[in-house]
Amino acid sequence: MTEEPPVVFIVEDDPSFRTFLQRLVSLLGLRCETFTSAEAFLSNARPDTPGCLVLDIMMPGLSGLELQRELSWGQVSLPIIFITGHGDIPMSVQAMRAGAVSFLTKPLRNQDLLDAIREAINLDRTARERRAEIASLRRHYDALTAREREVFAWVVAGLLNKQIAVELGTSERTVKAHRSQIMKKMQAESLAELVRMADKLGITPPHASKGR
């Protein structure tokens, strides 16, 4: 997994401020892509690199907040730094709740923005790493047979092989075999690791039907 150089996306309708933002980002030595509207940003294919979005909150057409919503719906995880000419509290609350990294008011201190960009990129990088781990776990999980996934759920729920056999109406021995297969396929060293994986994958243990 090779680390791509991070990119800063700028969506700002005011040309003057856009130019300024460009200049500032290049000061960090980061790649920078500018868009004049939210729509333009959305319609553009985004390189799979870590990065952040510097977004003017007031724009004709889709506003910054609306773009934020669009992105979250599209499962796009990109840290957003909002910039506003005249921020008001409800707007900033809404933005932060929706996961904005930072909310800056014009005129801003350059350093604040630079810090915000750096932080956002780090955030994104971390997020990206997490997303990559989950994706590998998912691949392993996808390799399990249906019976193995059943057993997997009961295992991470903390049931003994014998109990699982009862639940599944099979023998303890069979359960044991599935269990070792699961461990192998998931590349898990221990039950504890397997439970962590299940947690990352969001597998919730099934309800024990009887014997409780």
């Binding site: 005011d14 003057s16 401020f17 300024f20 910039i83 000419g85 005249h86 014009k106 005129p107 801003l108």
Partner: protein
């Protein structure tokens, strides 16, 4: 004219007077004689005096002893009745007593006494002057009384007459001023005035002394008459008497006429005239009378000759003795042809006979009923003429009629008139019967005599019943004395004209009448009255009065100014209100240009308007400033209309004006108020836009601050990145300007002062407003579409206020779309030309739209749908647009939203 001889022949009176005077003198002489005779003169019985002898007896008693014949004759007593009888036996007791008393006194006094006595004697009443002389015997006893009585009855009468004549003579001589003189002619030729009467001095003014001192004839005689007087003298000296009339100049210079009779006294021994005796009189007055008479006769002749009436004189038998010119003209005969001719030559036999009969009746002393009669005359050409003749007798000196003088007037024309009159009378009858006016006759007391059918109908009476009534019973005027006065007026012979009275019909209805009335016949016989029902007219008059008053009230309070002026602005007519308005008299205004009444800045506009009117005559209403009375600047509204002549050329303007100063002031105040309200509204709008504005300002500020910070970083590098610094600084400058522009825009919008109206490009205003509202639109995610016409005509107005209208409509649109989800929030701004050649601006949103019921309400003040709005925005917009002469209205948009339109008139050159 009296004859000179008549004056000197003694008049009968004078002759008689002289005779009496002589008799008197004789009688006196005889008496004197008798008194000097002895007491028993022989002539006792012979004298005419009444003598009597009384014997004085003891007692004393007086016995009449003797009376003479004269006595008996005069008294009528007989010898027997007197002689030997005592006085008491002769006379009645009282008379006797009286006589005895006198006789006793005479005896006692022993001297003669004279007394007057009157006595009743058989011959009648006698007045006697009696002288009693006592006669004494040798012893000195009074034995007898001798009485001598004179019958003074006659003398008394004569004395009285004499006194009268003397008085008369004195008067006459004073008046007549006769004078007399005598001049002696000396052998040497000298004339010596022997004597002259006082009268001469009185007439001439020269006294006897003056004449004696040598005032000669040459001084007295009028120079013009001197030759005549000298001629007279020569005749006189030849021994011939004569008369002359000549003028003299009196001492005081007055001219008088004298008639002088003089006769020479011839001395045969000397063979020459030795004396001239003359007498004369002042005939100045007579001359004057003569002259007056002459003039009078002349006048009479002139009058006779030149009278318009034809005049002629006739003898009693009808021979024409004189005619005048008018007569000649009337008859066509000449004077020569008429004189001496009989009247039958010119009159019809009937007229001649009638005239003859009149003459006869006149001569026998009958009084003719009238001096005027009608006669028919025949002119020379045979035309028959009707004349009115008026004749008078001509009398001679004895008063005996000797002829006639006639005045003839052609009445042919008058006759025709009379006939016409008769016809007119018939007409009167017709009118009487048919007239709707009420005609009636009354006697002098107002008793009804006759009335026409109209009156009877109105009165509700038959003629018979009406005749029993008096006008007073119909009078309803409330002032009976008024009616009495009218009747009195008629009685005095005056007509009534247009007298208005109220009268009552039998049914009690009261009507107004106008009465015209005249007395007919001999004054005060009968009154003819015509009454016209003027009730309706009165009502109309009353209505008219009210109307007139109303009209007058309108006219008097009329404030409209009226004037007429020539195309070069010279005033030809101004009304009272016009004069008042400018505080100038009509004389001051007429003939001058009214431009001097307009302040300099407004003149060119007025001139331009008139020029356009001359080029294209029409009715134009305009408003402009004027210099009103007292020099104040006022406003007037004028309606100018050109007056064209027959050829269609404009000759004059007729204008009516109104003083609209107050209105203008109110308008200005309103404008001021509206401007303030607009300002408040703008400020409020700005308030609503605070966020946008902050953004608009922060945008460039943010860039500036950021770029500046970058610059610092670049400069602190080693080496500094100057290229980057320069670029950033350029941007900083641009953004600085941008920020200041935003500030300026806002300042312009919220500044309070009233900006002057200028020529504005609506597209520019829209652009500026969009710039201001752009962030608001961004903020509300509104897409703006503009469709601005490139060839938009300019408008004339307040830049800020027009911008405010656009901003308000944009903000309204933004507001309307703020709640819209699920469709495009699009605001469209469009500019273009309006139908009338002005500008049409459209602002269209696709918001909530307008309920059609609310289309009208939305422009009302305080109408709002916004929780925080004051509801003035649209109301202010409309008042601004209308103040600019435009219109603002709203329509629901086809599809969602609403559309606002407003128009503005294009800025014209003339304005």
């Amino acid at each position: 004219m009296s004859s000179p001889g008549g004056e000197h022949e003694a008049s009968p009176e004078v002759t008689e007077l002289r005779r009496q005077v002589d008799a008197l003198r004789r009688a006196l002489a005889e008496e004197a004689l008798k008194s000097s005779e002895s007491r028993l003169g022989l002539i006792f019985h012979g004298v005419s005096d009444l003598l009597f002898l009384i014997g004085v007896e003891a007692g004393p008693q007086f016995r009449c002893l003797a009376v003479n014949h004269s006595y008996l004759k005069r008294t009528g007593w007989t010898q027997e009745q007197m002689a030997g009888k005592l006085i008491e036996e002769i006379l009645p007791p009282e008379q006797a007593q009286c006589v005895i008393k006198k006789y006793t006194a005479a005896v006692q006094s022993r001297t003669p006494s004279t007394f007057e006595e009157s006595a009743e004697v058989p011959a009648g009443r006698l007045v006697m002057e009696t002288t009693l002389r006592p006669v004494f015997d040798g012893q000195g006893n009074c034995t007898h009384l001798l009485g001598a009585s004179q019958d003074v009855t006659e003398r008394k009468r004569m004395v009285k007459a004499l006194h009268q004549y003397e008085a008369r003579y004195r008067t006459v001589s004073e008046l007549v001023s006769d004078y007399a003189y005598a001049v002696r002619l000396e052998p040497n030729g000298r004339e010596v005035l022997e004597w002259v009467t006082e009268a001469f001095s009185r007439i001439t003014g020269f006294s006897v002394q003056d004449l004696a001192a040598g005032v000669g004839l040459d001084r007295i005689i009028h120079p013009e008459d001197m030759p005549r007087v000298c001629q007279r003298l020569r005749v006189l000296l030849s021994g011939q008497p004569g008369v002359s009339e000549h003028r003299i100049i009196t001492k005081s210079g007055e001219i008088r006429w004298l008639r002088d009779y003089s006769s020479p006294e011839w001395d045969t021994t000397q063979g020459r005239v030795v004396r001239i005796i003359g007498a004369g009189q002042d005939i100045t007055e007579q001359k004057r009378v003569e002259e007056a008479l002459r003039e009078s006769e002349e006048r009479y002749r002139n009058l006779f000759e030149n009278a318009n009436d034809a005049l002629a004189t006739f003898t009693l038998d009808g021979t024409i003795t004189a005619v005048n010119h008018a007569m000649e003209r009337l008859l066509g005969w000449s004077r020569a042809e008429l004189l001496g001719q009989h009247v039958s030559k010119v009159a019809t036999p009937a007229s001649v006979a009638f005239a003859a009969e009149r003459t006869w009746r006149f001569l026998i002393g009958e009084r003719l009923p009238s001096s005027t009669f009608e006669a028919e005359l025949i002119s020379k050409d045979g035309r028959l003429m009707l004349v009115e003749a008026r004749t008078r007798a001509i009398r001679n000196a004895d008063g005996k009629p000797v002829g006639f003088q006639g005045i003839y007037r052609d009445v042919t024309e008058r006759k025709r008139m009379e006939e016409a009159l008769q016809a007119s009378e018939e007409k009167y009858r017709t009118i009487f019967a048919a007239s709707p006016d009420f005609i009636y006759l009354t006697d002098t007391e107002g008793n009804m005599l006759d009335a026409n059918p109209a009156l009877l109908k109105r009165a509700g009476l038959s003629l018979e019943h009406l005749r029993q009534r008096n006008v007073r019973e119909f009078y309803a005027g409330g002032k009976p004395e008024e009616l009495e006065q009218l009747l009195a007026e008629l009685r005095s012979g005056h007509g009534l004209k247009g007298v208005e009275v109220k009268a009552r019909s039998l049914a009690g209805e009261i009507w107004d009448y106008e009465i015209n009335a005249i007395p007919l016949g001999n004054p005060g016989e009968v009154f003819l009255s015509v009454a016209r029902d003027i009730t309706e007219r009165k009502r109309m008059e009353a209505a008219l009065r009210v109307s007139a008053q109303r009209y007058r009230a309108v006219v008097e309070t009329q404030t409209e100014l009226v004037c007429r002026f020539l195309p070069d602005t010279t005033l030809t007519f101004v009304n009272e209100a016009y004069c008042r308005s400018f505080g100038k008299s009509r004389e001051e205004l007429l003939g001058t240009s009214f431009l001097s009444l307009i302040p300099e800045p407004a003149r060119s506009v007025v001139k331009a308007r008139l020029e356009s009117l001359i080029a294209q005559p029409r009715l134009v209403i305009s408003e402009h400033e004027v210099i009103a009375a007292g020099g104040d600047i006022g406003w007037q509204q004028w309606t100018d209309q050109g007056i064209l002549d027959d050829t269609g050329r404009l000759t004059e303007f007729q204008s009516t004006g109104l003083d609209i100063t107050e209105r203008k002031r109110a308008e200005e105040a309103l404008q001021q108020l509206q401007a303030e309200l607009a300002h408040v509204s703008r400020v409020s709008t700005i308030g609503e836009m605070t966020a946008s504005i902050a953004h608009e300002v922060n945008q460039p500020l943010g860039a500036i601050v950021g770029n500046a910070d970058l610059c610092l970083r670049w400069l602190t590098r080693e080496p500094p990145d100057l290229v980057q610094v320069r670029d950033a600084l350029c941007d900083i400058i641009t953004d600085g300007h941008r920020a200041s522009e935003v500030i300026a825009r806002i300042r312009a919008l919220i500044k309070k002062e009233h900006s002057p109206k200028t020529r504005c490009d609506m597209n520019e205003i829209i652009g500026e407003t969009i710039a201001l509202a752009s962030y608001e639109m961004r903020r509300k995610h509104i897409t703006l579409r503009t469709e601005l016409a490139p060839d938009l005509p300019p408008v004339f107005g307040d830049y800020v206020q027009l911008g405010q209208v656009v901003l308000n409509l944009i903000m309204n649109g933004i507001e309307a779309m703020s709640g819209v989800e699920g469709r495009a929030r699009e605001l469209t701004l469009r500019s273009g030309r309006s139908g009338a050649g002005g500008v049409l601006i459209t602002v269209r949103d696709c918001g909530v739209g307008i309920n059609p019921d609310e289309v009208k309400q939305i422009f009302a003040a305080f109408y709002t749908t916004k929780p925080g709005g004051i509801g003035m925005g649209l109301a202010i917009c409309r008042s601004i647009v209308e103040a600019h002469g435009g219109r603002l209205w709203a329509r629901p948009t086809a599809g969602p939203g609403a559309t606002f339109h407003f128009t503005l008139p294009a800025d014209s050159e003339g304005r």
